[in-house]
Symmetry: C2
Amino acid sequence: MKENEPAKGVWPPAATPFHADLSIDFERYIAHCSGLLADGAHGLAVLGTTSEANSLDQGEREAVLERLIAAGIAAENLLPGTGTPSIGDTVRLTRHAASLGVRGVLLLPPFYYKGVSEDGLFAFVSEVIGRVGRSNLKIYLYNFPQMSGIAWSPALVGHLIKSFPKTVVGLKDSSGDVAYLNRLLESYPGFAVFPSSEALLLAAMRKGAAGCISASANTQAGAIRALYDGWQGAEAESLSRAASAVRNLMQKFPLIAAVKAVLAERTKSPDWARVRPPLDPLSPAQRKELSAELSNLAAGAPA
Amino acid sequence: MKENEPAKGVWPPAATPFHADLSIDFERYIAHCSGLLADGAHGLAVLGTTSEANSLDQGEREAVLERLIAAGIAAENLLPGTGTPSIGDTVRLTRHAASLGVRGVLLLPPFYYKGVSEDGLFAFVSEVIGRVGRSNLKIYLYNFPQMSGIAWSPALVGHLIKSFPKTVVGLKDSSGDVAYLNRLLESYPGFAVFPSSEALLLAAMRKGAAGCISASANTQAGAIRALYDGWQGAEAESLSRAASAVRNLMQKFPLIAAVKAVLAERTKSPDWARVRPPLDPLSPAQRKELSAELSNLAAGAPA
């Protein structure tokens, strides 16, 4: 892929493992990221919600990118989150990521604020782009109003595409709002839209989606890649059903904790289950239930 | 006041003026802060919501404290906000503030996250306190669920007071929820509770409040100080009515922009009206309306 092509395909938002003292376990992290790519992920949407990026300090966020690249992961296969409520911190993180040559950045809105105007949000993005000052910067808007309290409305997305056509090139939608997703896909052909769930991927691909950035891709990157590659093939519906069943099961639990619980079980490393406060890990009962239901699913038992 | 006594009285959350390039106008800022103290403020709750603290980058947040202290404002008269969604960034800002000798810090919950458990929030505060590692640290919880998406519930406040009796010593309540405020005042005598509005101050003082931390104190610190000093006197009701009328008028507008518009008019410095995106300044029509209504109020016209 050329650096300036928009991202496409399966970009898992890699979960971040922690040591007992809550510091990042880089060895485990790099192994996980490399494994996702080996399983078929096209790239990694690191430092998003599933990565607990907003629980990392700024130095850690920079270190994550530097360590992955030093470990041999191509910068063009990284799509890190860099959005904060502050223009200055966002510019610092975005400039750092861009200087490393990442494919682009995922931009949360300034999420402390609520009820802000579209003009205010436009001004925020405009200031960030101007201050980063790199002509090859690529921004993917990150829409997750349930967490950020601010949505990127379709009208504002259109305004940003029109004003910054070479920079604002895509959007990850974690809202789960299919009408919103479809409206973006229909309104802005060529704009790289990623639903946040493999359960929405097939229908979205048929409307022109770029791929998906899904938390549960941390546990089934290969299955999602098969669906992405085969969405026009004879197996598309059955690939979609299988991947969706896993996703739908996992999201009955707190999703980040569930992803980490599955990784802990699969790697026989209880440390994987650790999250940073204020998040909680799954309870033992939840872990047991999730594990049993996933086993049933794998054994082909009725859901 | 001794350094370790809990804060009491009128602590305006000082607004932060910006130059045209959006950098902090320190000269104007220091003049404003000094003026508030000269008008009768007991101290300054800098780096809160009204200060647009979450629109400042981390270096600016540290610089604000250093510059105020260098300008001669006593550290013990400062109560800066230091809460972020990340334990690491919060520890860094809190440690920096504590090392300068501030009276205490105002702690927002980890506001990116929504729907987190009380155990998770307790663990967050506990990690921050442990990692800051200063026995003289004083924390004032900052409750503003409309903006942060997370409330400090009375049960959790009680748990924190019991667990960290020398550290968790107060709370600023910006919720506007009088039942919540009263519940804290009744449940935790001696805990320093500050409503965020002078319109609630008199009733709250009668129930044992510590004072108030109000955005509109940026424009009427003296009037609020008079109310605070006179809450048991013959003039209490009329002082409360006068201060409340100004507050109630201002909060019909976006409050931060309104505070800055009043300061701009009063100092004949249009620059004061500037806010950082995503916030918007008042429109010319709003400024005119606010100005006219404040003049009417000052002239004693019926509200």
